[in-house]
């Protein structure tokens, strides 16, 4: 049975959740305001931030999604438990 994940795992996930929420809100706003320059710029900035956080998370704890692109060529690390929702 694998040891429980380290404490920072939850902090990383919470950070990711916070960024994802902002992105979702901005996306819904942009649906009705497609050419709002400020929102577009903010959305791009937060997408970049999300990409960095997810990258660091996956480097430490493994993939967030199965379809996130296999990083190592010799091992399908998606099968390593725990999956994010199991934690």
């Amino acid at each position: 049975m694998k040891p429980p994940v380290p404490q920072e795992y939850d902090q990383w996930l919470e950070q990711l959740q916070t960024v994802d929420f902002v992105l979702t809100e901005l996306q819904l706003y942009l649906d009705t305001h497609p050419s709002d320059p400020q929102a577009l710029q903010q959305f791009r900035a937060w997408t970049e931030r999300r990409r960095l956080i997810a990258g660091q998370f996956e480097a430490q704890f493994g993939p967030l999604e199965a379809t996130g692109g296999a990083r190592s060529l010799h091992h399908w690390d998606w099968v390593e438990s725990p999956w994010p929702w199991q934690v």
Binding site: F21, V22, H33, Q38
Partner: protein
């Protein structure tokens, strides 16, 4: 300025089988009054937005947390 919550007083009949509920509340969140959202509204910080469920203070709705006790 609008109120986030309003109340009404149901009719209490002498034939009601149960104890009467004299006042009831319903929520009137900001989006009912906002119409098309103007660009450039002030925003919460990311963590605050997650806790409050919206990115813009103008759209925040406490959803009647304070009124539940005063239901009867």
């Amino acid at each position: 300025m609008f109120t986030q919550q309003k109340r009404y007083y149901p009719y209490v009949s002498p034939y009601d089988p149960c104890a009467p509920i004299r006042q009831k509340f319903y929520q009137t969140p900001p989006e009912l009054y906002l119409g098309f959202q103007p660009p450039g509204l002030p925003q919460y910080s990311a963590r605050e937005a997650l806790a409050r469920g919206t990115l813009w203070p103008a759209l925040y709705s406490p959803y009647g947390k304070s009124s539940r006790e005063a239901q009867r």
